[in-house]
């Protein structure tokens, strides 16, 4: 560190003057050149305002503040977008209070210190450890975001080829009708049949509209940031996505949809779901090089006893289940065991990235659901996604706005 480098910024939040003073002295021992720039707050509210308005390299916060406790503090500064607080947090707790420490860690503190045995070493080690852990999590978060972006672009790329084809067909129809009109008008300008002109114009209009619709659907998938979770009908989501898929898959793959009659309200990010479905469908196509059948079915399933239904690990409750079945090559058990790993692919370079199912898995976890795979070589593959059915009040509210 050179003399010019700014000192790391530390915030100490504690309503006890003596305790704040203690931490500060451990960080910047009197008589030495200060190693940290220390800011102090004597209540949780001021602490929160500071953390949210300025950048700190680390925050020390007492668990027991007069206006709130440590968990409340952590909750208030937590950023759900990044999945982290704005800065690493070291929680200070009284002695013999293990539950409090665990709670602090669970709600996002990186480390804790017991107030009874503070020392310069303990404080500095906790600081260093909290910063390292925080940086690790932030790095992981950035990597996830990047993965996410790559996966979305992959899905878009897969769709673009099919959509370009569709678009050129639409344009062919428009150009053909325009050509006919030009011919008519130039060969016989005095005798133009209005009915004929109207018919041509109507055809072009309807074709242009289906083009606009195609663009609209594609836009949904190129959107950078995904939507928040909202309550949607799973069957409708599938129908929307299918419109995009028919063309790229339709060349060799027959698609059958068997949707549950009842509506299936789920609280999900519909764009993420669409991406997951696209990736599974493209995988199915790739597994059926000589054509075959893709079946997408939905149903409502109530799980009372996960073990009895062979769904060990699935929490009891009501689920909307979507099953994606292909009649393709299937997978050997050693392949099936690894498919959800990021970057695991059996496809050649330029053909697979190994991200599709990893991201589908991420989506499912985020939606508090489950994904299972059933496959054996030569017998095709079925993926099932279980999504918790959203309470019906929420559906009513979502439809109301």
């Amino acid at each position: 560190m050179t003399d010019k480098a700014p000192l790391p910024e530390i915030l100490i939040i504690d309503d006890n003057d003596v305790d704040r003073e203690g931490i500060r002295r451990y960080l910047n021992p009197p008589g030495t050149r200060p190693a940290f720039a220390v800011t102090e707050a004597d209540c949780g509210k001021d602490g929160i305002d500071l953390v949210l308005s300025r950048r700190f390299d680390c925050v020390f916060v007492d668990y027991r503040l007069h206006d709130m406790d440590g968990v409340q503090f952590l909750r208030d500064i937590y950023d759900p977008r990044s999945g982290l607080s704005p800065a690493p947090v070291v929680m200070l707790t009284g002695e013999g209070n293990e539950t409090v420490m665990l709670e602090a860690l669970r709600f996002g503190a990186q480390d804790y210190l017991i107030k009874g045995n503070l020392s310069a070493d303990a404080v500095n080690i906790a600081l260093k450890k909290a910063c390292e852990l925080f940086e690790l999590k932030a790095g992981q978060r950035r990597a996830e975001e990047q993965l996410h972006h790559m996966q979305r672009m992959e899905a878009v790329g897969q769709l673009t080829a099919g959509i370009a084809h569709d678009f050129n067909n639409l344009l062919t129809v428009v150009l053909g009708n325009l050509y006919q009109l030009q011919q008519r008008i130039s060969s016989n300008p005095d005798k133009i049949d209005p009915q004929y002109v109207l018919k041509k114009v109507e055809t072009m209009e309807s074709v242009a509209r289906s083009g606009a619709d195609l663009v609209r659907r594609l836009m949904v998938f190129t959107r950078q940031r995904s939507l928040e979770q909202e309550v949607v009908d799973l069957n409708e989501c599938i129908a929307d996505t299918l419109e995009l898929l028919r063309r790229p898959l339709g060349e060799t793959v027959e698609i059958e949809v068997r949707a549950a009659q009842e509506s299936l309200p789920v609280a999900i990010d519909a764009v993420e779901f669409g991406n997951a479905l696209i990736n599974m469908a493209i995988n199915a196509r790739d597994a059926m090089p000589r054509g075959g059948k893709l079946t997408i079915s939905t149903q409502k399933l109530t799980v009372d006893d996960p073990y009895a239904t062979g769904l060990a690990g699935v929490a009891a409750g009501s689920y909307a289940v979507v099953a994606v079945t292909d009649t393709g090559t299937g997978m050997a058990p050693d392949v099936a065991a690894r498919i959800f790993e990021p970057f695991f692919t059996t496809k050649g370079p330029g053909e697979g990235t190994g991200l599709g199912l990893a991201m589908a898995y991420g989506f499912v976890k985020q939606s508090r659901g489950y994904i299972t795979v059933d496959s054996s070589p030569g017998r095709g593959t079925t993926f099932r996604i279980y999504l918790p059915v959203a309470p019906s009040e929420a559906t009513a509210a979502a439809q109301g706005n």
């Binding site: 080829a161 959509i163 084809h165 050129n168 067909n169 009708n177 050509y179 006919q180 055809t203 060349e251």
Partner: protein, 127 residues
């Protein structure tokens, strides 16, 4: 073109609106036009005859692809001229039109179809 000497053209495309408009326009050029909605029925029509002078075929179609149609026509009916059309896309990236040419297509046309261009090609091939 004088009656009786009209050239026969078979047009194959799986998109019904595209097939319809190409048929209409080509007919208005003065050709005798027949059409098929996929490769299989196109080849059937060729086998049954009467043979067309020119086959205009799309490339990306469900079932038999246009490339397979071209290969088959070249083998069985070497006298029939071929125009390949493609709008890109499909599962394997790559230049379908270049492949069509290698397989023996006499002319290629990228979609969206340029109709005056198609007319020129047909004129050329019917000489």
């Amino acid at each position: 073109m004088a009656g009786g000497t009209k050239k026969r053209i078979l047009i194959i495309d799986d998109d019904d609106l595209v097939l319809q408009i190409i048929c209409e326009v080509v007919e208005s050029f003065g050709y005798d036009v027949t059409s098929a909605p996929d490769g299989e029925s196109g080849l059937e029509m060729l086998a049954k005859g009467p043979l067309p002078d020119i086959v205009v075929t799309d490339i990306i179609m469900p079932g038999l692809s246009g490339l397979e149609v071209i290969a088959d026509v070249k083998r069985k009916f070497p006298g029939v001229r071929i125009v390949a059309m493609s709008g890109g896309g499909g599962s394997k990236a790559g230049d379908n039109l270049a492949t069509a040419q290698e397989l023996g297509a006499d002319a290629t046309l990228a979609k969206p179809v340029d109709f005056p261009g198609l007319l020129d090609i047909l004129k050329d091939l019917s000489r």
